[in-house]
Amino acid sequence: MRMQTSLPASLPNSLPAGFEALEPFVDYWAGATNDIRWDRRARASMAEIRSFYEAAVPRADEGLAYLEQFPLAAMPDDATRLLRLLLSLPHAAMAVEFHGQPRAAASPFPHGMHIGRGPWPQGW
C-alpha cells in the first residue's frame, strides 16, 4: 500500500473553513507521518508544545466532528491537513499530560527508534 505522505506545502486557507485560527500551527504540527509528528514534538520546547496544545485542544472535538463526514482513507487535502494537525495532539499530550516536559525523563534523544508504520487505514 502506498503511503500518502506529501501534500502541497500549506497555503493560505490550507485548513477547512472555520479552523483558520489554527493555521499558524500547520507548518510544524501537521506532520505527514506518526514518526514525524513524534519527532517534531520531541524537538519542540515546552512553550511551543503548550502553545499548540492550548490553541488546539478547545477545537479538537469540533475538528473530529467535522472530519467525520469524510471516509478516513479519502479525505480532501484540507481535511487531511486538519486530521494530521489534530493527530499531533496526542503527541503534545505526552509532554503536557504525562511528562510535564517535552520528553520522558532520562529517555535518550536523539535515539534510533522509529515508528515504521502508523495506525491504519493510512499507515501514517
Binding site: N34, R37, W38, Y53, V57, A60, D61, L64, L67, E68, F70, L72, L83, L86, L87, L89, P90, H91, A92, A93, M94, V96, E97, F98, H99, G100, R103, A104, A106, S107, P108, H111, G112, M113, H114, I115, G116, R117, G118, P119, W120, P121, Q122, G123
Partner: protein
C-alpha cells in the same frame, strides 16, 4: 469494567519461581557481557532453536515475500508464499557467485532475479534462468536452486530453523506451549503499526528481560503506565499467574481496573471517550476482547483485573495478549552488546476518525514507554560491563527472566536439542 475481588496486598499473589521448578539463587552477569558466551548462544541457541519470524498475514497473498535477517548467525532469510499458499524459506543468496538476490525487505513477486548476472529463481526456490548457460561447464540447473532453510508454521506463526536437518520438529520444540495456545485468536493480524529500533546498546537478553517483568513498571514508567499496572492493592505490580511451558513461559500481569485518565488529561480523555472495551491501553473492540478472554491459556485463572498475558517463545520472541488485542516484540542480537528489535502492534483498521485519534494516542504512549526502556537498558548494559557486580538478584515476580537464563544455560550446555528440551 467492574472491580471484582481484588487480591489483597502482599498476601494473595501466587508464588511462581519454586512451584515452576526454578532455583532461587543469584544469576551470573557473564552471559550478558561475555563475547565467548555470545558465541555459544549463536551456535547453540540461535543456531539450533526454531525462530519465530512473525505471522502468515505478513505474507498477505500468493507470491508475497519478506526478507528477515538473523544477524547473529549471519543469515539472510527469504520467506516466500507461492501460488498454492505454501510458505518456504531460503537463504537469500544466488547460486552463481553468492550475491544477495532480493534487496527489498518485503513485496510481491513469483520470481526473483539476481541483479549481478540475471540468474532467475521461482519463489519455490527453483533456478529458472541462467544467461549464456552454454558457456558454463556441465551446469545442472536442478542443483542451482536457492538453498532452503527449514520452515514450518504453527497457528499462523512462521518459524525457521537454521540447522540443515532440524533435530526436532516445530511441534516438539513448542511442546506444552503449543498445546496450551492452540486456537489462540489473532485479531487484527492483517495490519500493525510498527516500532523499529535499528540498534541499541544493550545485550539482547537485557533488552527482552525488561519486557517480561512488571516489577519495574511503577518505577520506570510512572506517568506513561504506572497507574495502569499498579494500585494500592498491588503497589509493586506483582504478577497474577505464571507458567513454565517447556522451553517457553507465560505470565499474567496485573491491570488496575480503576484507572481512568485524570481530569486534567484532556486529550487522553478525548481519545478514550468512545471505545467500548473500557480499556485505555488497547484499541480493539469488545468482541475481539471477549474472544481473547475466553481462551483457556490467556489469563488462565480468569482474574478480572488482568493487563497482559506475556508469552515468551524461546529464545527471543514475545506475544502479548491483552484486553486490547495482541502485539509482538522480537529481539535480534547484533553483537554481545547491541540489539535490534521490532514491535508490531496489531490494531484494527480504524472505522472512523475518533478511533483513528485514539490509535494515535495508543501508538504515542507505546513509543514513549519503549523509549523509556531504551534509555534505561543502555545504562544497565554499561553498568553491567563496569565490573561492579558479578551477579544479579531476581525476585519471585521476575521468574520469567530466571527461566529464560536457565533455559539458555541448558541449551548452551546440551550436546543435542533433544537433551536441551528434556524435562
Amino acid at each position: 469494567m467492574s472491580v471484582v475481588d481484588l487480591p489483597k496486598p502482599n498476601t494473595e499473589f501466587p508464588k511462581l519461581t519454586v512451584p515452576n521448578g526454578l532455583g532461587t539463587g543469584p544469576i551470573p552477569i557473564a552471559p550478558y557481557i561475555s563475547q565467548a558466551w555470545y558465541e555459544q548462544e549463536r551456535d547453540r541457541v540461535f543456531g539450533r532453536a526454531w525462530l519465530c519470524m512473525g505471522r502468515v498475514e505478513q505474507l498477505p497473498e500468493a507470491d508475497s515475500f519478506m526478507v528477515k535477517e538473523i544477524e547473529i548467525c549471519g543469515v539472510i532469510a527469504l520467506i516466500t508464499r507461492d501460488a498454492k499458499d505454501q510458505i518456504r524459506a531460503f537463504h537469500n543468496v544466488c547460486s552463481h557467485r553468492a550475491n544477495l538476490v532480493v534487496h527489498e525487505t518485503s513485496g510481491k513477486g513469483s520470481r526473483f532475479v539476481c541483479k549481478y548476472h540475471n540468474w532467475a529463481y521461482r519463489n519455490t526456490g527453483d533456478c529458472i534462468g541462467v544467461p549464456d548457460r552454454a558457456n558454463f561447464f556441465d551446469l545442472d540447473m536442478k542443483k542451482c536452486g536457492l538453498t532452503p532453510i527449514a520452515c514450518e508454521t504453527w497457528e499462523g506463526w512462521i518459524f525457521i530453523n537454521l540447522q540443515k536437518q532440524p533435530e526436532v520438529t516445530l511441534t516438539e520444540f513448542l511442546g506444552n506451549f503449543g498445546e496450551a495456545f492452540r486456537d489462540a485468536p489473532a485479531p487484527a493480524a492483517t495490519q500493525a503499526f510498527t516500532v523499529d529500533v535499528t540498534s541499541m546498546r544493550a545485550n539482547w537478553k537485557v533488552t527482552i528481560d525488561a519486557f517480561c517483568e512488571s516489577y519495574h513498571v511503577p518505577v520506570l514508567h510512572p506517568s506513561t503506565l504506572g497507574d495502569t499496572f499498579a494500585n494500592d492493592s498491588n503497589r509493586y505490580a506483582r504478577p497474577l499467574s505464571g507458567n513454565v511451558r517447556g522451553a517457553h513461559r507465560t505470565m499474567t500481569t496485573f491491570g488496575n481496573p480503576n484507572y481512568l485518565p485524570p481530569e486534567s488529561s484532556l486529550i487522553e480523555r478525548l481519545a478514550y471517550s468512545n471505545i467500548d472495551t473500557g480499556n485505555t491501553l488497547g484499541a480493539n473492540d469488545a468482541a475481539d476482547m471477549q474472544a481473547l478472554q475466553n481462551h483457556p491459556a490467556i489469563n488462565p485463572n480468569k482474574v478480572p483485573n488482568w493487563a497482559t498475558e506475556i508469552c515468551w517463545l524461546f529464545p527471543n520472541f514475545l506475544i502479548f495478549y491483552s484486553p486490547g488485542g495482541f502485539f509482538t516484540l522480537e529481539f535480534w542480537p547484533l553483537s554481545v552488546n547491541t540489539t535490534r528489535w521490532v514491535a508490531r502492534m496489531h490494531t484494527p483498521v480504524a472505522a472512523d476518525v475518533r478511533q483513528r485519534f485514539q490509535q494515535e494516542h495508543y501508538s504515542c504512549r507505546m513509543a514513549e514507554i519503549f523509549l523509556e526502556d531504551v534509555g534505561n537498558l543502555e545504562r544497565q548494559q554499561k553498568a553491567m560491563e563496569s565490573g561492579g557486580k558479578s551477579e544479579i538478584i531476581l525476585q519471585d515476580g521476575e521468574f520469567l527472566l530466571r527461566h529464560s537464563i536457565e533455559t539458555i544455560q541448558k541449551w548452551v550446555a546440551s550436546a543435542t536439542v533433544r537433551e536441551a528440551l528434556a524435562e
